[in-house]
């Protein structure tokens, strides 16, 4: 199965460096629970005597609260059916927290973060503005970002910045392009099921 970089690289024209790192759902690591059954299996793994019932002694102290929550017949034990009911009810609850990304400042923001000397900062901003893509942030570069050394913007920045500053400039622009992918919703799989 082709995933991530492999797929993107396979489709990228020669000389064009793919920026899309993840384009398909990543494989699930072994043992990673994704379903209700997996939760039930995990909790039942504490059933030391394999009688399909969980007593307080069998659960870690931090998990013993689930017995009180699910013990419908009040016998002090969580049996398999009670656990299944509890897990189904939990799955029905929806939780969501909205995280709003900081508005992107695009390449001028990247330059600002470098904390260059005032003179160098002005020159870097001038270069960036001269090469500004039509849509402010390099969203247009998202799907296929050419290798930095082939782009005039990077060539000029390379002449201006020292080695460390240039390395940081390149790293920041790469992060910026990946962030843009998330905004465009083209990174799949890595944003998990809680993002609904």
């Amino acid at each position: 199965m082709l995933t991530g970089v492999g797929l993107a690289a396979a489709q990228a024209p020669e000389g064009i460096r793919p920026a899309v790192l993840i384009t398909t759902t990543p494989t699930t690591p072994p043992g990673a629970p994704r379903s209700l059954l997996a939760v039930i299996e995990r909790v039942m793994s504490f059933d030391a005597n394999k009688d399909l019932q969980l007593s307080r002694d069998e659960l870690p102290e931090r998990m013993q609260g689930i017995i009180a929550r699910g013990d419908r017949n009040a016998d002090g034990i969580l049996d398999f059916e009670e656990l299944r009911t509890l897990v189904n009810a939990a799955a029905a609850e929806r939780t969501r927290v909205a995280f709003r990304r900081e508005p992107s400042e695009g390449l001028p923001g990247v330059v600002r973060d470098l904390k260059l000397s005032p003179e160098k900062h002005e020159r870097a901003l001038a270069i960036v503005n001269a090469h500004k893509p039509a849509s402010n942030v390099p969203d247009k570069l998202v799907r296929n970002v050419p290798a930095p050394q082939t782009i005039p913007l990077y060539k000029e920045m390379r002449l201006l910045l020292d080695d460390e500053e240039y390395e940081n400039f390149v790293a920041a622009t790469e992060r910026l392009s990946k962030t843009a992918q998330v905004r465009m919703g083209i990174v799949q799989g890595i944003v998990g099921p809680s993002r609904r």
């Binding site: 997996a38 939760v39 931090r62 609260g65 927290v97 973060d113 940081n168 790293a171 992060r175």
Partner: protein, 372 residues
């Protein structure tokens, strides 16, 4: 036969006396040293950036347990009293160490019988401003008043019976008066013990770091701070650009992540810890953990719920260099590895170190009041 019986009786009496003596020696070894006028815990003047619009909604102080100087003083005494453990050896402060922002500098904490916990003792800084008011790594405690009593009763941590604590404190010379000043009468109850401890913990607020000094003179957290070096401002810019969406949501400068998060730590063969999912029983919560405030992060190593990251470098490497594939990854790692350069990592750590509040780490208001 009679000789044997009396011999046995003598041995029992000797053992009981020795135990009682040992206990009284423990108590006698330390003396409670409190100021004549209580320290100020309530109504402390906080910096302006703690008073941004909406900041008040982050305060989880309940209406029935407002912070008072006498209440927090009582809480401080309880926090450091080893008699809250079954064998008089362990207090809350044994694992929550002030010099480490009330975290344990070890990956596992040692319980009253020497057993080791499978999770770290969390830092206790600025918990008052954790809006969800849910506590522990798995957020199983629904409020601070409940949270503070659970380690006391935990079989591994302090192993104590709360009723026994109440009896012990009622017989003590100092406690009835301390409860009287805190609550208006001298009655000692389990609920009041919880309230006083919660007040003390809520009073532990970090607000005097170099970050706070710089922030006081800046219009915005995004501006360069006058008191920062270039590297620190560079680290702050990197943090704002790449980390603040979660660690500083809506400009919250307590540096909490506002909900538990799965940051790819679940592949943990050592403890097979399901985190929040073990409590909520939601599949998508498996591997999620509450995140402590980043304030004082310099002194709260090791990091992670199981202390798997020994240093800040190792922690940042986790987010920087590792492609993290986990079906439960939420909003946390939307761009995969952040691929920080070496100098970016150094700058980030320089910034994080500005969040250290040396005043808090040595403040006598939060120190052990029992002196030898």
């Amino acid at each position: 036969m009679t000789r044997i019986f009396f011999g046995f009786l003598l041995a029992v009496v000797f053992v009981l006396n020795a135990a009682a003596l040992s206990s009284s020696r423990l108590a006698a070894k330390s003396k409670l040293n409190l100021p004549a006028t209580p320290y100020r815990y309530a109504n402390v003047e906080l910096p302006a950036h703690f008073k941004q619009p909406g900041a008040a909604t982050h305060d989880n102080t309940p209406a029935d347990n407002p912070l008072s100087d006498h209440g927090a003083t009582l809480g401080r005494v309880l926090f450091y009293d080893t008699r809250l453990s079954a064998n008089n050896t362990t207090s809350c402060g044994s694992c929550h160490v002030q010099a480490h922002a009330f975290a344990d500098p070890k990956p596992s904490s040692k319980g009253f019988h020497g057993g080791l916990t499978d999770r770290r003792a969390m830092p206790l800084v600025n918990l008052r401003y954790y809006q969800r008011a849910r506590f522990f790594w798995d957020e199983r405690a629904g409020n601070l008043e409940e949270m503070v009593l659970l380690p006391i009763q935990n079989r591994l941590e302090m192993g104590q019976d709360l009723k026994r604590v109440v009896d012990t404190l009622a017989r003590d010379a100092a406690y009835p008066g301390l409860f009287g000043r805190a609550f208006g009468d001298r009655e000692i109850t389990e609920q009041r013990i919880g309230k006083a401890l919660a007040q003390f913990v809520r009073s532990i607020v970090s607000y005097q770091s170099r970050y706070d000094e710089g922030r006081a003179h800046a219009q915005s957290a995004h501006d360069d701070f006058e008191n920062f070096t270039r590297q620190e401002n560079r680290g702050k810019a990197l943090f704002m650009r790449n980390c603040s969406t979660c660690h500083m949501k809506d400009g919250n400068e307590h540096f909490f992540v506002p909900t538990p998060a799965n940051t790819g730590l679940r592949g943990d063969a050592r403890t097979a810890d399901g985190g929040v999912g073990d409590v909520t029983l939601r599949a998508t919560d498996l591997g999620s953990f509450k995140s402590p405030s980043l304030r004082n992060v310099e002194v709260t190593a090791p990091y992670g719920h199981d202390g798997r990251f020994a240093t800040l470098d190792a922690l940042i490497d986790h987010y920087s260099d590792n492609p993290i594939f986990d079906p439960n990854l939420g909003y946390m790692i939307p761009v995969g590895p952040l691929t920080f350069t070496a100098s970016e990592k150094v700058a980030l750590i320089a910034f994080l170190n500005t969040l250290t509040d040396r005043t808090l780490l040595t403040d006598p208001r939060f120190s052990n009041p029992f002196v030898k």
